[in-house]
Amino acid sequence: MDNYLHVIDVSKRFGESTVLDNLSLVVRRGEFVSLLGPSGCGKTTLLRLIAGLLPTDGGRIVLDGKDLTRLPAHRRNVGVVFQNYALFPHLTVAENVAFGLRARGVAKQEIPAIVERCLAMVHLADYADRSIFALSGGQQQRVAVARAIAIRPDLLLLDEPFSALDRKLREAMQIELRQLLRELGITAIFVTHDQEEAMIMSDRIAVMNAGVIEQFADPRTVYERPATAFALEFVGTSTRLPGRVSDWDGDTVLVDTAAGPIRARAGYVSGAPVMIGIRPEKIMLADGNEHGMNVVRLRVLDRVYVGSKLLLHFDAGSGGQALAELNPGDAPDVAPGDMMSIAWRVEDTLIYPAVGHG
């Protein structure tokens, strides 16, 4: 797949505050990319810059070899699905979908067929003549998608389009939208603060924090190898233990933590403050055969049974907690207060410099 959208050193300031600072992002043709981050991280601002709804304060935006930076929104051919859908209240469902076609001067006799096809794609063929007020939230969302894809955009931007829907509907729509965009071969950028949603939908996820992309990788890499302490914290659950490096043998470091000494593959000088991270499903119960693994003995704080798995919370010392995700059959008799040995592979031990988390 070739590189399609280039966001190059883009900056955006609102008055005194810098929202985006020299941000760069490259998206491949046909790719579905999520911008994932907490509110205020600049993800929606980036989306609006790409759409041309906000002017940039530096940098360039190039789509398929064409420089969009100075083009107004209506000349970019970049579709947007807004968070509140922004459907035209004075138009019917079909007229909403036809709006972009009419604005672009598509031949009158071609419009009804395109509208019909787009409404069929989102399963709203029977709703063409309805008022948008007669639709449910999910249906309105589909109209917004149909309206955006009707103009065959070179790029589709989606700004938290599912945030107003209830959980069940949201999950169904996520799968459906992903399949639809894949079939149409539309390159899409999706803004969300919901890490699960980003995981489900994306080819790649850009984890954003304070106007910076901290990691840009496929969902599995983002989850298993978070590039920064922020990415670890924001995506999924994890055990996080602060500590200090006490030894380095050229391959692994030994870190002193409140839970005990822990080994990790990394290079840090002795005395460096670090943050250890472990994903809950990497942790298992120690059975005395733990060669090349980290083993710590901790007291069980809580035991949560959630059907397909068993969650154990441990006291990791200094007020910290460790979380293990086990099969329900693995520890049937565990009760709060028990002391248990848990283990995980040294390779699965994540380690970050402790700056910003001290």
Partner: protein, 293 residues
């Protein structure tokens, strides 16, 4: 929906018809309905009766006489012309103003709103007199025109249609701006953004999104200003004088000076019919525009 939902328990308790709580709510309008019925609808009927009542019983004789006189047609023409011009001027000036107010931020919006509402507290007579001073041969407008070299000599504004339209438009401007402003404020700015991302340029966005959505405010503004401009009495008396007659001044003169109550009642009814027709017509036209947009 919020109103009916909140009223439901009361309705259920009192009338045992929980599905129709609206019945009770209607009672809330009763004082106003009674007031308007007694002091407005009843006199209106009396006025209508007076216009058709002759010593030989009811007849449309007075209407026939009115429309048979060419002078009457000129009066109707004057009335419609001035009211239309005033409405147009306030619309052209007021529409952009209303949107500027709706999109202004914080304190600036409040200041604009105050600037628009405060002049309403000054009486029409005072304002009309002020315009007399402003429009005089040696008034501010003429001083400015001569000083800037736009004209060599002072222009005659006072006691002309131009002067009347200028003064009346100023006085009625808030009644155009405020209804458009309240509608404009409700238009989601994302709608224009959405239109832009769909490929609509500025003109297309205005005519296909902003204008149709602001139409209810425009219609309300036109209805307000037109019905006030068509029936204004004090402003033309002070700014254009007795030689220029409109339906409202004729009505006033008939009652006050000529003591011809039948003529006054007749012109009042004609004025009312024209005003209602224009207001209803513009509302219908707007609905049609909305549909084709």
């Amino acid at each position: 929906m919020g109103v009916t939902a909140a009223a439901a328990p009361v309705g259920a308790a009192r009338t045992r018809k929980p599905r129709r709580p609206v019945d009770l709510l209607v009672l809330l309008a009763l004082p106003a309905v009674g007031y308007l019925g007694f002091f407005f609808a009843l006199p209106l009927v009396a006025l209508l009766a007076k216009s058709v009542w002759t010593s030989a019983g009811p007849s449309i004789e007075s209407y026939a006489r009115f429309f048979g006189d060419p002078f009457s047609w000129q009066v109707v023409g004057n009335t419609l012309k001035i009211a239309t011009l005033v409405t147009l001027v306030t619309l052209v000036l007021g529409y952009p103003t209303a949107f500027a107010m709706a999109r202004a931020r914080g304190i600036f919006q409040i200041l604009l709103l105050v600037a628009m509402i405060l002049p309403l507290s000054i009486g029409v007579v005072v304002k009309a007199f002020s315009w007399q001073i402003v429009l005089r041969r040696d008034g501010v407008v003429n001083q400015l025109l001569v000083w800037s070299g736009l004209t060599d000599e002072p222009v005659r504004f006072l006691f002309t249609e131009t002067g009347l339209v200028l003064g009346a438009a100023n006085i009625f401007l808030p009644f155009m701006v405020l209804p458009i402003y309240s509608v404009a404020k409700m238009i989601d700015p994302r709608l224009t953004e959405a239109a832009a991302t769909l490929g609509a340029g500025p003109m297309y966005r205005f005519f296909r999104v902003i204008l149709p959505l602001s139409m209810p405010g425009v219609v309300a503004g036109i209805a307000f200003v037109f019905s006030m401009a068509i029936s204004m009495y004090v402003i033309p008396t002070l700014l254009i004088g007795d030689r220029y007659q409109t339906l409202a001044t004729i009505t006033g003169r008939s009652f006050l000076f000529l003591r011809n109550e039948q003529l006054g009642a007749t012109t009042a009814v004609i004025l009312l019919v024209i005003a209602v027709a224009v207001v209803l017509g513009s509302a219908r036209l707007a609905r049609g525009l909305r549909r084709t947009a």
